[in-house]
């Protein structure tokens, strides 16, 4: 029974960690973009205040059960995905359930949230939401392909499909996969900004065109749950990349350094970019990223 | 002003005078020509100006309420892009039950002006299409741009007024009342005294 207690405590701690780190990263992002634009910018803890404020809103409005459930699907996806990702290589608390999932499973569970979100956005009846969903799903088809190619290349090269297995291989070989299979890393890296939906790939929620798209009817506690989920999910994605390509992390400081370094890439790209149109974004993903994906597959297979 | 400069203007006037029965016509100044016509002559004059004289640009259309004469004066302003001349075609219709022909088949943008005039003055245009409600929403008073519409009374009746504005005097008078107050230093250089 003690094992289960530890597991639950570990799961809670992991969630809390992901939330905190994700929130601070989002705060840093705002700060960095502000500095790039020669502004002071909000304090780094600003996103905590935003979430708290939204949570303390006295009313919230929904258009039906699917909208009520949409943030729930999102956060369920984020937290469950977190449960199946090894946050630290050999921590007691942070292993969670990662022994019972693998990469394909992670790919699919990551879609669970956006699909629910899309259903909720659809129920609001706001045309902007539906347009945003249509764009978002189209963009997803774009970036998933190179990203999946990179992952399949890793799986074929190292003959394992589990994240833990890939981590073990990296610690056995003593090298990171970004060096041992660089082509896959490049493909995955090029696909990454699409996953984060920062500029130039912020076509889903484009505030100036779509009035923030799918989330345009969500406010109060719904929006705060979504922001929470978003920050957890950012951490999840970064951790997954670190686990796959950068050899994981054996303590929290290493994890924070690696994820932050990785996080800077979409953030800095986004800070100086305008917005793509949807078809431009997909064409981008089906250009060089796809080429590197193919190259990685061929490199892995032969 | 030599005759030479007004050559184009004079040529236009001559043409129009020859072809149409104008009530009045004059050259206001260089680049400004004014003709006054009967309502039924409006379409021929405008068509002639557009097709034959090169006044292809429909610049504006406006309406003046001559309540003393019991008439509306509608002004069509045309523009000749090469000769750079404005042609003012003016016509007068009775305020009550007057109507003008619709000219949006000549220039499509005239439709917008006509709908605005219809709404703001209550002047009828024969055969004008489009929704009755254009700029105003749910307006059930007399058309607001007519001079018999008492704006101030309407405003006083419908809207609230913040105290301090009740006299509605010119701001300068208010300032005048305060001349004995000490002005701050930075304001002194803008002072009229």
């Amino acid at each position: 029974m003690e094992g289960i207690g530890y597991k639950i405590l570990g799961a809670l701690l992991t969630t809390l960690l992901a939330f905190t780190v994700g929130m601070f990263y989002a705060g840093f992002r705002r700060k960095i973009i502000a500095r790039i634009q020669n502004r002071v910018g909000p304090p780094v803890y600003q996103n905590f205040l935003d979430v708290l404020k939204l949570l303390s809103k006295k009313t919230s409005v929904n258009h039906g059960i699917m909208q009520h459930l949409a943030p729930l699907w999102l956060i369920t996806m984020s937290v469950s995905t977190l449960m199946f990702i090894p946050v630290l290589k050999d921590g007691l608390f942070f292993t969670n359930l990662n022994f019972s999932g693998d990469l394909i499973f992670l790919l699919y569970i990551m879609v669970f949230g956006p699909l629910g979100m899309a259903l909720g956005a659809g129920q609001t009846g706001n045309p902007n939401s539906a347009i945003g969903v249509s764009r978002g799903l189209t963009q997803m088809v774009g970036f998933e392909i190179p990203w999946i190619m990179a992952i399949v290349a890793l799986m074929i090269q190292y003959k394992t499909t589990s994240v833990t297995g890939l981590l073990d291989i990296q610690s056995q070989n003593g090298t990171w996969m970004m060096f041992s299979s660089p082509l896959a890393f490049i493909a995955a890296l090029l696909a990454m900004p699409g996953m984060f939906r920062y500029a130039p790939f912020d076509i889903v929620g484009a505030p100036a065109e779509l009035a923030s798209g799918p989330i345009s009817e969500f406010g109060g506690k719904y929006l705060s749950t979504m922001m929470t989920s978003g920050s957890i999910f950012a951490f999840v994605k970064l951790t997954l990349y670190v686990d796959l390509f950068m050899g994981g992390a054996s303590n929290l400081i290493e994890l924070v350094i690696k994820t932050f370094a990785l996080y800077m890439y979409p953030v800095l790209w986004g800070a100086v970019s305008p917005r793509f149109r949807t078809e431009q974004a997909v064409r981008y993903f089906w250009g060089w990223p796809l080429f590197f994906g193919f190259a990685a597959l061929i490199y892995a297979a032969f | 002003m030599s005759e030479n400069i007004l050559h184009n203007e004079q040529k236009l006037l001559n043409l129009l005078e020859k072809k149409f029965l104008l009530k009045e016509s004059r050259i206001i100044r260089a680049k400004r020509v004014e003709v006054k016509v009967e309502p039924k002559e409006v379409i021929p004059v405008l068509l002639y100006a557009k097709e034959n004289s090169g006044y292809i640009h429909f610049a504006h259309m406006s309406c003046v309420d001559w309540i003393e004469d019991g008439e509306f004066e509608v002004v069509y302003i045309l523009w000749h892009p090469e000769e750079k001349i404005n042609l003012f075609v003016k016509t007068r219709v009775p305020r009550d039950n007057g109507s003008l022909p619709n000219i949006d088949f000549i220039w499509r943008q005239a439709n917008t002006y006509e709908r605005e005039i219809r709404e703001m003055f209550g002047l009828r245009f024969e055969g004008l299409e489009g929704r009755k409600e254009f700029i105003l929403e749910d307006w059930n008073n007399i058309p607001p741009m007519r001079r018999d519409f008492d704006t101030e009374a309407y405003v006083k009746e419908v809207f609230f007024h913040r105290l301090g504005r009740e006299d509605a005097k010119d701001v300068r008078e208010k300032i005048q009342e305060r001349t004995d107050e000490e002005l701050p230093d930075f304001a002194k250089k803008y002072s009229r005294d």
Partner: protein
């Protein structure tokens, strides 16, 4: 008498009973149908002896009926889906005319499928195959819509398939002197290379046609969407699986045993291409029925890919997907039918916002769509996972990418289906739409419960698949109740998945619902933030026309033209190619049968001259 013969007689009896019942009185007919829906599976589950074989000889041809475990697996699909569809049909066909013919054909197609799955020889297989084809043809033209195009096309393609099969059968008979399936499989290794290919490819053509694989799928979208929806769930769910059944034993028994893997690989590639192209077509459909029809083709593509690859895990995945596809596509076609019946249309640009009017239908479709999309924790994920892992283990990386592309793009049409019919603004036009009758919703809900259970306990299906695979030569297939394992030993524990998702879901559900419970307001879908503009009830703000325009623009430079057009023209081309056949085929069954017999005679007489045996 043997239980197998009794089963067939029972089904035939019920078919006649419901036909005559309906010609007397609708109620009597409905009772007969309901009895059929209850008694046939009851008899099958309790009384049928699966080890029994019946053999008899008709004019020199030996025929044999008997179940093997592989056939039993597919019978399970038929015996579970068809009764539910029958019960659904009671609600769906309540106000229509000629119901007698409908139920007669329906039950006869069940008879055909049951017969196919218990045939141990080619003659009875062929007979039952034709019974199935005819009865389904009658249902395709039942509504009288678009008979010229879809009906004739279905007939022509079915006839082609039948010819191909028949030719194969004749050649096999020439070579082995026996009509038994097993004799053929055993003798296959000794055939000459030409015969191997000829028989194999002809059989594969016949079966692939029913499972709508890429070059010969043209009949499917029209036929699926023109049939009454009550039958389409069976048509797409079970009847197309007969093709998969055939492909399964052809590919595995022949090619795997005779080391002709590349033929299977070609089949797998065809499946993958089918999946991608059909998915792209499905995305741009505006009619929900057409969308589902294309989606069926795509899903059958996955199944064919799995079977074509021919490894243990991939066949397992293919068969599992076949079972699951029957369930979720059954639900979806039923839901589309329910919407069609209640709201009058399935055009997704017209129908919007039925979620509050038809919550049960929505729930069932939601579950089915999640299963279709392969998102955990529902059953569809299991099949997708096994398929991917088998492809990756096998090193077929290009095929993995194609399948991935197809199933990622499948999210687009999955969402479009739900959004188009159930979400969006609620219109006064559909104010009075009511939930479908319990006769229609209960089958849907039962199937969706099945889908939910398979998400955490897929073992209940694995059991039958593992049994069935022993007949295909895979002994000791490993399966566990809720753990998936691939060839490299990586695994997914589904109970952990379901548990963690469930716990997180419930925790946050409580948090979100309880937090400020009294302050959460419901507002109508007309109350949206639209720059302060007040939306009138009759204004429809739903964005449903050209829903995936961005995606269309993306694909434009790749395909240079609209995909529907491409498909249409492809279909037109095929149609024109067989235009002369329309003159030969009058479109009724008798001439068709006559031609088949003539063809049979010609083949038997001249086969030596033609093939040189």
């Amino acid at each position: 008498m043997s239980s197998l013969v009794i089963l067939i007689l029972i089904i035939a009896g019920f078919a006649l009973l419901s036909y005559f019942g309906h010609s007397i009185n609708k109620t009597a007919g409905n009772i007969a149908v309901f009895a059929a829906a209850v008694l046939i599976p009851l008899y099958w589950f309790t009384r049928v002896d699966f080890s029994e074989t019946v053999s008899f000889t008709i004019s020199g041809f030996q025929m044999e009926l008997g179940y093997n475990m592989y056939g039993k697996l597919f019978s399970l699909i038929v015996m579970i889906l068809s009764p539910l569809a029958l019960i659904y049909a009671l609600g769906y066909m309540k106000d229509s005319k000629r119901t007698g013919t409908f139920y007669f054909s329906f039950l006869f197609s069940i008879l055909g499928m049951t017969g196919i799955l218990m045939s141990r020889d080619f003659i009875s297989l062929f007979i039952f195959w034709e019974i199935m084809t005819w009865s389904s043809y009658l249902l395709v033209i039942f509504l009288g819509k678009d008979v010229e195009k879809t009906g004739i096309r279905y007939m022509v393609f079915s006839a082609l398939g039948a010819y191909a099969m028949f030719m194969a059968i004749v050649i096999i008979h020439r070579n082995t002197g026996s009509m038994m399936l097993n004799d053929y499989f055993n003798a296959f290794g000794n055939f000459s290379t030409g015969t191997k290919f000829l028989t194999g490819i002809l059989l594969m053509f016949g079966f692939a046609l029913k499972s709508a694989v890429m070059p010969v799928h043209v009949w499917a979208p029209g036929a699926y969407s023109n049939t009454p929806m009550a039958y389409t769930s069976v048509f797409s769910g079970a009847l197309s699986k007969m093709g998969v059944y055939g492909l399964g034993f052809v590919v595995i028994n022949l090619f795997a045993h005779a080391n002709l893997h590349f033929a299977g690989t070609i089949l797998a590639w065809l499946g993958a291409v089918t999946a991608v192209l059909a998915t792209f077509s499905a995305i741009f459909q505006d009619d929900a029925k057409k969308l589902l029809a294309y989606s069926s083709i795509a899903q059958l593509g996955y199944i064919v890919t799995g079977i074509g690859i021919g490894t243990e895990l991939s066949i397992f995945a293919g068969l599992y997907l076949a079972v699951l596809h029957a369930a979720f596509k059954g639900v979806l076609f039923m839901a589309a039918g329910a919407v069609e019946r209640q709201a009058g249309s399935t055009d997704m640009t017209e129908v919007t916002g039925l979620i509050r009017k038809m919550p049960l239908t929505f729930f069932a479709s939601l579950v089915a769509i999640i299963a279709l999309a392969g998102v955990p924790p529902l059953g569809g994920f299991v099949g997708k996972w096994m398929l991917y892992e088998s492809l990756i283990n096998n090193g077929n990386f290009l095929m993995v990418i194609m399948i991935f592309l197809s199933s990622t793009a499948a999210f687009l049409y999955s969402y479009k289906f739900l959004f188009g019919l159930f979400l969006g603004q609620e219109e006064p036009e559909f104010e009075n739409v009511k939930e479908a009758s319990p006769l229609m919703t209960i089958p849907m809900l039962l199937l969706s419960v099945f889908l939910m259970i398979t998400g955490s306990f897929p073992g209940i299906v694995f059991k039958y698949i593992a049994e069935g695979m022993t007949d295909l030569g895979f002994h000791d297939v490993n399966w566990q109740m809720s753990v998936l394992t691939n060839a490299w030993g990586d695994s997914v524990n589904l109970q952990h998945v379901t548990l963690s998702i469930g716990v997180v879901f419930v925790v946050f559900l409580i948090f979100l619902t309880w937090k400020g419970y009294k302050k959460t307001y419901y507002v109508s879908t007309k109350d949206i933030s639209s720059s302060g503009e007040v939306i009138k009830p009759e204004d429809n703000m739903t964005y449903s026309t050209d829903f995936y325009k961005p995606f269309e623009r993306v694909l434009h430079p790749i395909l240079k033209r609209k995909i529907e057009k491409y498909y249409d023209e492809f279909g037109e081309g095929i149609g024109a190619l067989f235009d002369f056949m329309r003159r030969i085929y009058t479109g009724n069954g008798q001439t068709y049968a006559f031609y088949v017999i003539v063809f049979l005679v010609i083949l038997l007489v001249f086969s030596k001259n033609i093939f040189g045996y």
